[in-house]
């Protein structure tokens, strides 16, 4: 009977992690991790365990796969107190859509919590229409997956910017923050607005999220122009999270003189090869390859850049980021750079004559 009840209980708490922290008389703490799941339905057994270990109190934490705490039990003087903590960010508001055999609610793959296998409650939200309107879903471009903790940061950033920038048209989060892992220097935020907000926004953001930010303001016409002439902005927006849907990119307009100015940045690679770290080298190669793709009328995306880097320079992007590049690759890079420079100067001169 006991076994049956225990199994039933385990089923109800599938996907939940149970941690026990026991504080003993001597001031020591014992931590028992996720081993006594079956005790969830027998609080008196837990009390007995506390007593037998001579613990003065015991804290039991229940967390889901994303690490969000969902329930806490505290045992003091053999009495049990139970607290339920339901976090706001563990709610997802969805819409029921019609299916052929069954109707469904879709969950975005990029979400905090709600791991596959979790049991959830679905109930109507008629009274909360105002709240539903204020919660907008985000748009992901070129992102296969993102860590839940980063998604929470993104949500927080969007909220702060929405509060402090009244007339924005869109907000984009882009750059190395969206790369896998946590090796980013700052968070690149691009705000599309006709009116720039003063420095308070940067200060407020950095105070609240505790990370460095790099905020760039664009108005509609300057963003359009940037996407027309600049491969790096095309690349930046090929992989981003935006508050509102991103409009299709405008047609390319190659300004060779402008590209010449941008290409010079990549010259630093062979001049400062020994002092640059892997990430800096990657950025300089990314710059030249994106210019190459732009001029050759090819799609500019992170995967295409990695492919071309391999093809043209024989450099693997992961090795480059880890700063494992041999001097032979440097020679290939130098030749590639000067060939590109020559072509661009020639075309820029031609363009000047026709203008």
């Amino acid at each position: 009977m006991l076994q049956k009840q225990s199994n039933k209980n385990q089923k109800n708490f599938a996907g939940i992690r149970l941690d026990l922290i026991l504080s003993l008389n001597a001031g020591e703490r014992i931590q028992i991790k996720d081993t006594l799941r079956f005790l969830l339905s027998f609080p008196f057994l837990l009390n007995r365990l506390v007593k037998s270990l001579g613990a003065v109190n015991m804290r039991m934490l229940l967390t889901n796969h994303a690490g969000n705490r969902i329930r806490t039990y505290v045992f003091r003087n053999r009495k049990t107190y139970k607290y339920y903590v339901i976090l706001r960010n563990m709610e997802i508001i969805g819409k029921i859509s019609r299916g052929s055999k069954m109707d469904q609610v879709y969950l975005s793959k990029n979400r905090a919590g709600f791991a596959v296998g979790n049991y959830v409650i679905i109930k109507p939200l008629e009274e909360r229409t105002k709240e539903i309107k204020s919660i907008e879903k985000l748009y992901f471009y070129g992102i296969k997956g993102i860590e839940p903790v980063k998604l929470e940061i993104v949500n927080k950033i969007m909220k702060i910017i929405s509060r402090l920038t009244y007339n924005y048209d869109n907000i984009f989060i882009t750059g190395s923050f969206l790369d896998e892992g946590f090796q980013f220097n700052d968070i690149d935020i691009l705000i599309l607005t006709e009116k720039e907000t003063e420095n308070t926004l940067k200060r407020e953001l950095e105070n609240q999220i505790g990370m460095k930010t790099h905020i760039i303001f664009f108005n509609k016409s300057s963003l359009k122009k940037a996407l027309e002439i600049d491969p790096i902005w095309r690349l930046m927006l090929s992989r981003c999270i935006s508050k509102k849907r991103l409009l299709p990119h405008p047609r390319k307009n190659i300004d060779y003189k402008y590209l010449d100015a941008q290409l010079i940045k990549s010259k630093a690679l062979f001049e400062n090869f020994d002092i640059l770290n892997g990430k800096e080298k990657y950025k300089l190669i990314r710059n030249i390859i994106s210019i190459y793709l732009f001029v050759k009328n090819k799609e500019i995306s992170e995967s295409n850049i990695e492919k071309e880097t391999k093809e043209k320079l024989g450099i693997d992007s992961d090795e480059l980021k880890n700063n494992i590049v041999d001097k032979g690759a440097l020679k290939r890079y130098r030749n590639f750079y000067f060939k590109m420079e020559e072509d661009i100067i020639k075309n820029a001169a031609k363009q000047e004559k026709t203008n």
């Binding site: 790099h214 760039i216 664009f218 300057s222 122009k225 940037a226 002439i229 600049d230 902005w233 300004d255 003189k257 402008y258 010449d260 100015a261 941008q262 010079i264 940045k265 010259k267 630093a268 001049e271 400062n272 002092i275 640059l276 800096e280 100067i345 020639k346 820029a348 001169a349 031609k350 000047e352 004559k353």
Partner: protein, 113 residues
């Protein structure tokens, strides 16, 4: 060591020349307002130069007048040569008078001059 010192000065010259060339070409482009969004990238070149500068003595004071003069002239000449090549190929609107002003500014920013 003297060899290292010489090499570091050459690296500073290379890095700052590129940053100044970028700036002059940017000013000559009809799309200069778009390039101004790259402030972070130009700062990076100055930061790299600062890294080199920190390795050269005296660290906390500006370099000797002789060194400053050498670096200044080398950068100006290097940028001028590159830009003159471009002008000879047909580039227009390149303002060579900008070079000296920009060189003095970056030398100050990098604690060289």
């Amino acid at each position: 060591m003297p060899q290292n010192r010489k090499k570091l000065i050459e690296l500073i010259i290379g890095t700052l020349s590129n940053a100044i060339m970028h700036e002059v070409l940017r000013m000559a482009s009809k799309n200069k307002e778009i390039a101004s969004y790259y402030k972070k990238e130009i700062e990076n070149a100055i930061n790299v130069s600062r890294k080199y500068r920190e390795k050269i003595n005296p660290r906390n004071r500006s370099l000797s007048a002789r060194d400053i003069e050498y670096i200044r002239n080398k950068i100006i000449n290097k940028v001028k040569v590159e830009l003159v090549i471009r002008i000879s190929k047909g580039y227009k609107n390149i303002d060579l008078s900008l070079i000296e002003r920009l060189v003095d500014k970056v030398l100050k920013d990098t604690n060289i001059g």
